[in-house]
Symmetry: C3
C-alpha cells in the first residue's frame, strides 16, 4: 500500500464535495516577526500593540495576508498539488481579525468543475473557508485552478461554472468589531491621507523595489505549510528554477504599497487576483496602485478604497498592465483588485 499522498486529480472531485484540510496551525508572535522580516510591512495596526489598542482592538492582530496565506496553504495538498495553474481568486472576505495564539484550520467546497477540451485537465472552482479555534469563520475565498486528469480522455463529467461576483458589494464588507478610528494617529501611521484625499482613477507609484531572493520566498511558503513542489525543488520544473509562490508576490506588493497607502491598513476583501506571469529569484519587482472606487462605510468614521494593486518587474515601463494585444504585459506579475479600510 502506498502511504504517501500524490495529490488529487480532476476526476477525484465532485460538485458539492467538502474537504476538511489537514494540519491546524496556531499562529503566534513568531509568525508575525518572520512576516516582518520577509516583507517590508509597516502598517502600524499590525506592527504595534498600542496603535491597535488605540483603534479599539484587543491587541495587534495578524496581517490579513498571513491569515489568507495560512488558509491557502492548508488547501494546497488537497486542491492544487497537481495543479497546472492557479487561474484566479474571487469573493475573498475577511470576517474577523485573527490574533497571535489563535489556531486556524481550513475547509473547502467544490463549487464548479469543467473539463478542458484537450481531455488532459479540467478547471476546479473551490470555495475555501478559514476557521478559528472557536469554529468561527474568519475568512472565505474562491479560487479556481487547472488540475491534471489521472486518465487522459476518460469519462467526462458534468460541467458547472459558478457565478462569481466581479467585485464584493461594499455593503457586504465587514468592519472588525470594536474597531474605532476616532483617535487615529496620522503621525504614527506616517501619512495624513483619508478616504477623500484619494480620487477614482488616481494612480500611485509606490517607488520602492525589491530583488527577490531564493531563501526568502521558500521560508514564506513553508510558513504557510504550502507543499507545492515547484516552489522548493529545482527538479520539479523543466527549466530548473524554483517558481516563486504567488502569495509571496501578493504580500510583497501589498507591503510595498504602504508608501502612499499607509492608512489603508486593513484588507476587507479581495475581489480578484491574477498571477499574470511567473516570478523567479533575482527578479526585481515594484508595485503601483490605482483607486478603482471609494465609498463611505458608516457613521463618518470609515471608508473603503477599492484598489487595483499591480506588481511588475523593474524593467517594465511605469504603470504597466496590458500589452497591445490586450493580454497582460510580460513584465506584469500580479493584478489584484481589493477593498481596504481607510479612515475618513
Amino acid at each position: 500500500m502506498d502511504k504517501s499522498k500524490k495529490g488529487y486529480f480532476f476526476e477525484d472531485y465532485h460538485l458539492g464535495q467538502v474537504i476538511d484540510h489537514a494540519v491546524p496551525r496556531t499562529l503566534t508572535d513568531g509568525d508575525k516577526a518572520i512576516y516582518q522580516s520577509l516583507y517590508p510591512v509597516r502598517y502600524p495596526i499590525y506592527s504595534s500593540e498600542e496603535f491597535a489598542k488605540n483603534c479599539g482592538l484587543v491587541g495587534s492582530p495578524l496581517d490579513n495576508l498571513i491569515v489568507f496565506n495560512t488558509i491557502f496553504g492548508k488547501s494546497v495538498p488537497d486542491i492544487s498539488l497537481n495543479a497546472i495553474a492557479n487561474l484566479g481568486y474571487a469573493e475573498c472576505r475577511f470576517f474577523k481579525p485573527v490574533y497571535p495564539g489563535q489556531s486556524l484550520s481550513a475547509r473547502s467546497e467544490i463549487i464548479g468543475l469543467k473539463e478542458n477540451s484537450n481531455g488532459e485537465s479540467g478547471i476546479v472552482w473551490v470555495r475555501t473557508f478559514g476557521i478559528n479555534e472557536l469554529e468561527e469563520i474568519i475568512l472565505t475565498f474562491v479560487r479556481w485552478v487547472i488540475v491534471r486528469k489521472s486518465l487522459i480522455g476518460g469519462i467526462k463529467g458534468k460541467t458547472f461554472i459558478p457565478k462569481l461576483a466581479k467585485s464584493i458589494d461594499s455593503t457586504d464588507l465587514i468592519i472588525p468589531d470594536s474597531l474605532n478610528y476616532k483617535n487615529y494617529d496620522y503621525t504614527q501611521s506616517g501619512e495624513k491621507f483619508g478616504l477623500f484625499d484619494y480620487k477614482v482613477g488616481e494612480r500611485i507609484d509606490h517607488v520602492d523595489r525589491v530583488t527577490i531572493s531564493e531563501s526568502e520566498h521558500m521560508m514564506a511558503t513553508r510558513l504557510w505549510q504550502n507543499t507545492a513542489k515547484v516552489h522548493f525543488d529545482i527538479t520539479a520544473r523543466t527549466d530548473g528554477r524554483r517558481l516563486v509562490y504567488g502569495g509571496h508576490i501578493i504580500s510583497m506588493g501589498r507591503a510595498l504599497s504602504f508608501n502612499g497607502l499607509a492608512n489603508a491598513q486593513i484588507i476587507l476583501g479581495i475581489n480578484s487576483g491574477v498571477h499574470s506571469n511567473p516570478c523567479f529569484a533575482s527578479d526585481t519587482i515594484e508595485a503601483w496602485s490605482e483607486i478603482l472606487e471609494l465609498t463611505e462605510l458608516n457613521n463618518k468614521q470609515f471608508g473603503a478604497l477599492r484598489l487595483r494593486l499591480v506588481v511588475q518587474k523593474a524593467e517594465a515601463t511605469s504603470f504597466s498592465l496590458f500589452d497591445v494585444c490586450g493580454g497582460y504585459d510580460q513584465n506584469v506579475l500580479l493584478d489584484m483588485d481589493y477593498w481596504a479600510l481607510v479612515p475618513i
Copy 2:
C-alpha cells in the same frame, strides 16, 4: 593572555570528565515559527495548540528536533569545534516534552576515548544531557567524533570504547506524561494510518524534494547556537564551500517524511544516525523511510514504529542506501534509525 576559545583537542579530554556547556537558552514561539519557516514540518501536535490539548498535553510542545539540535549546539564549542568528523549518534532518548518558555542547558560526560593509529587524532565518545530550568533531564544522547590532537604523536592515553545499544529497547521508550490518543483526529493529522497499517520491511517514498539554500541552513544552525566554523565560513574548508550542518539534514528529512508518516508525530528515541556524505547548498534532497520494527507500547492506545530514515540526493536511484562495495551510496546523506510514537 589569549581570551578567545580555540576549542578542545583530543588530549584535553579524560574518561568520566563532566562538562557543563555554556549559554542556557529559552526556547519560545519564535523558535517554533522559524523552524516552521525552515522545514516543511506539519505534524499537528507541534503545529496546533488545540490538537496538542486534544491529545492531553498542556499545549503544543517544541518539535523533538528543535530540542535535540539546541542541546547538540550547546555541546559544539566544548566537543566538536576541532572535530574532523561527527561519526555517529546512539541511545538518544527523549524524557519529557519541552514547551515554549522553557530554558535548556546541556551537560556532557566523556564516556570513551581511543587514539587513532596515525597519532594525529582520536575518537571521543560523549554522552550529552539536555536539562530544563527545573533541572529535569529532558533528553540524552551519545555521539562520537574524531578530534584533532594538539600535539601530533604526544602521549598516548588509555583506550576505552563504550558499549552502546544498537537500538533502544522498546520498553525503555518514554511516552510523554498525560498524552492521550483517545480522541486522535485523523482528519486533522491528514492520514488515517495507525501502527498496524504499517508492516516491517515496508518502504515509503516521501515524494517531495527540497533544494538546499545557503541562508536557510545557516539560520537553522545559528538558531541552535552551533558555532562550528565550516557551516558559516567559506574560508574554513579547502573547497570554499559551506558544509551544511548535519542537523539540518535530519530536520529536513524528518519534515519531508510527514508524507506517509503523518501520525508518527513524536520521536521517542534515536537509535543511530550516520551522516554518510556531505551536503552543500544547491543540492536537491529527498527522503524515504523503511519500517524496521513495530510494537505496541501500552493499553491499546500507543504503538512505536522503528524507522529507518534515509535522505538522499535527487540524482540517486529510488531507495538508495549502499553501493556495491557495501559502503553508503555516494548520494546518500543520512541513514537514521529512530523510534516514533503512533496511534494504534
Copy 3:
C-alpha cells in the same frame, strides 16, 4: 497629488526641527528568535530567562542592538532615504532594558547642518530618541549623514556643527535598574573573565568568520523596518549590488566578539562608529577587539570596558585598521568604540 514619499532633501531640514517618526513597533520573542537565527549571538542574559532573572532582571531583555536597529530603522524614511552616506554615530546611550512585548517609537531632532562646498549636498546631524510605550526614553544616539539637495546650488542655509563627545564619560553610563551580578554564573556565560582580567591595549582576535548571504542581511534590515532602497534593490546602485546595511555588520561583529568577551553582555553606550568600507553578500568577515579603557562603575559589582570593535574582511591581515596613508584599510568595514558592562 503625489501620495508616496520620496524622502527629505537637505533643504527640508532646519536646526531644532523635531520629527516624530512613523510606525511604532512592538518587539516580541519572535524578533528575539530571528535575531538568534541571523547572528551567532550567545550572551546568556539575552538568551535565557533564568540567567537574566538570576541577574536581578524581570526577564530576558532584547539585545541592545535589536533596540538600536529598531530605532535607527524608524528614522530612515525621514532622515536617510536620500542619504549619500552615513558618516558616523556618537553619544549613543542606553537608558533602560527593553523586554518582549514592549512597543518602541522614535523621535529625532536636527542638531546640526552644513552645506557641502559642491552645492549638491549637505551634512545633517540628528539626535534620535527611542521611546517605549510608557513614554520613557530608552535610547538616544546622534548620527550624521550626507543628504542630497533637491536643488543643486540653491539657497545656502546657516551652518551649525554640533559639539559631540569623543567618548561618553563613564560616570554617565547607566546600569539597568535592579541588575545584580552577585550570583553571576561564569560557567553558564562560558568565560571566567571579569573587568580586571583585561588590560588596556589588549587585543582579542575573535577567531570565527561568517560569509555574508543576501537573504540574511535583507531579513535583518526589514525586521528594523528600514526602507533604504540600496539594501533590497539591485537597480538602486550602479554596480547592481545590494549594499549590506551597516547595522547588520555591527550586529554580526558584536555577535562574533562573544568569543573572548562573553561577560561583556550589556552595551551601555556607543561612543562612535564608522562604516569605513561597504560590505556585500559573499564577503567573509571577522572581528577583533581592543580594550581602550577600563573602569569600575560602582560598589565592586560592575565594571565597564571601553572597547574598539573592528570588523574586517577575511583577506585583511590580522588586526587591520589603517593603511599607510592614515585612512582605513580597504578591508576594514567597521570601527566602533563602545562601552560594555562587565562583572568585576
